[in-house]
């Protein structure tokens, strides 16, 4: 049901009956390693390209999520997935193997919550019983796609971010036990004219702020409603810009509830510059770490605000600015 200008409230309680997070070797050394269901010790995953490795990550996350609730692929009605490759090949190729009706989503790194919001809407409207929302990225494939191949040896400024190698999947069902998706706010594309692809956090911060404020307004809530509000991958620079903007606009976001997935996933001594990024950043932290904490009873109400920079290598070369988006999904136990 639509509420306010751009939010949905899910009255039929679509529930995340299972979720899975898969990661690579760098994530295995990170701060949230225990919350991953599967960690690989080699970035190639025994494939002959990084793109194929990324597809395997996504397939594994979906397989684990399905197996956890003792279902089979045939039980899944729809598969919604996004990634950062050209023409979202990771998702399409994984869907080829899964043989489940597929809807590809692209919102750059916000694809994770775009998928979860749509999956919840489909279930909430009685259009499906089981829908998987998933997202994946691979550090090496994304560096190649959006920046420079690592072996090129291009320098990175301190504002750059580190793409997560991993995949996250959530199985949304009409009935069952688990955290419930209660609302979602779909973001507008916001472009403040920033052009530096090595400073995506700063470019995406205004989009996150706009979506968070609209979410509160549409649903008549304030920050104290939530135990945790986490942005997707703003990193240290973007997250502090977002905190400042929100407090200027009168929202008191205390640092113990306002977090960023990109600042949680790795340890302080890992060389990730301003923090983590990628669809898999918000997907693995949410579907692994946060949902585990909800199931343990440590968190009751969370808002995930996945942020995406909607540039392409072509738009950057043609000196276009970076349009950004953020989608917020509210999950309650």
């Amino acid at each position: 049901m639509k509420k306010g200008s751009q939010s949905w409230v899910f009255n039929n309680n679509p529930v995340i009956i299972s979720s899975a997070a898969v990661g690579g070797p760098f994530e295995a050394k990170g701060a949230l390693a225990e919350d991953f269901d599967l960690l690989h010790d080699d970035i190639w995953l025994e494939q002959d390209s990084f793109e194929k490795a990324e597809k395997v990550l996504l397939e594994e996350a979906c397989d684990i999520a399905i197996k956890k609730c003792k279902l089979k692929k045939e039980n899944i009605n729809f598969f919604l997935s996004g990634d950062l490759m050209n023409q979202i090949i990771t998702s399409s190729f994984a869907a080829r193997a899964m043989s489940v009706p597929f809807l590809g989503v692209f919102g750059a790194c916000s694809s994770s919550m775009e998928g979860l919001a749509l999956a919840s809407l489909i279930v909430d409207s009685n259009s499906a019983d089981y829908v998987i929302a998933a997202a994946a990225t691979h550090n090496a494939s994304v560096e190649k796609q959006f920046r420079y191949p690592t072996e090129y040896g291009g320098q990175k400024p301190p504002t750059a971010q580190w793409t997560v190698t991993g995949a996250g999947a959530a199985l949304v069902a009409s009935k069952g036990e688990g955290p419930k998706v209660t609302a979602a706010t779909i973001g507008k594309v916001i472009d403040m004219g920033l052009t530096d692809p090595f400073n995506m956090g700063a470019a995406m911060a205004p989009a996150a702020v706009h979506t968070i404020e609209t979410h509160f307004k549409d649903l008549n809530r304030d920050p104290s409603y939530y135990d945790l509000i986490a942005t997707g991958d703003l990193g240290s620079i973007g997250h502090s810009i977002a905190s400042d903007l929100l407090s200027q606009h009168g929202f008191n976001m205390t640092s113990n509830i306002f977090k960023d997935c990109g600042l949680l996933i790795y340890k302080k001594d890992q060389p990730v510059f301003a923090g983590a990024s990628g669809c898999a950043c918000s997907a693995t932290v949410t579907y692994g770490h946060f949902l585990n904490r909800m199931r343990k009873g440590e968190l009751r109400k969370i808002l995930i605000v996945a942020t995406g920079a909607l540039l392409s290598p072509m738009s950057y070369q043609q000196k276009e600015s970076i349009p950004c988006i953020a989608h917020a999904v509210s999950i309650e136990m």
């Binding site: 550090n139 420079y148 530096d196």
Partner: protein
Amino acid sequence: MIKVLLAFLVGGGICVIGQIMMDVFKLTPAHTTSTLVVVGAILGGIGLYEPLIKFAGAGASVPISSFGNSLVKGALVEAQRDGLIGVLTGIFDLTSSGITAAIVFGFLAALIFKPRG
């Protein structure tokens, strides 16, 4: 010893210029490299790069700007001998060893190694 110091200062200075082009003027690595090649070619064309190499040795001959100088030098030498067509045949004359080495060693490295990221 003084030659080593001069090489360090001039070579380092060229690298500082490159770093400023990337950090302050936000040029991409490819644009930075190309710009240095063009500057080297212009300096070579007006006869200023050779004196710089005499002055600073490896400090001027190792950075990428020296590649631009070599392109122009090769073109000028063959232009004097063969006329205008010499510009076309001579441009890669002095630099062909460097270009071929880059291709061959790049190929060999790609055969042996697998990227780690």
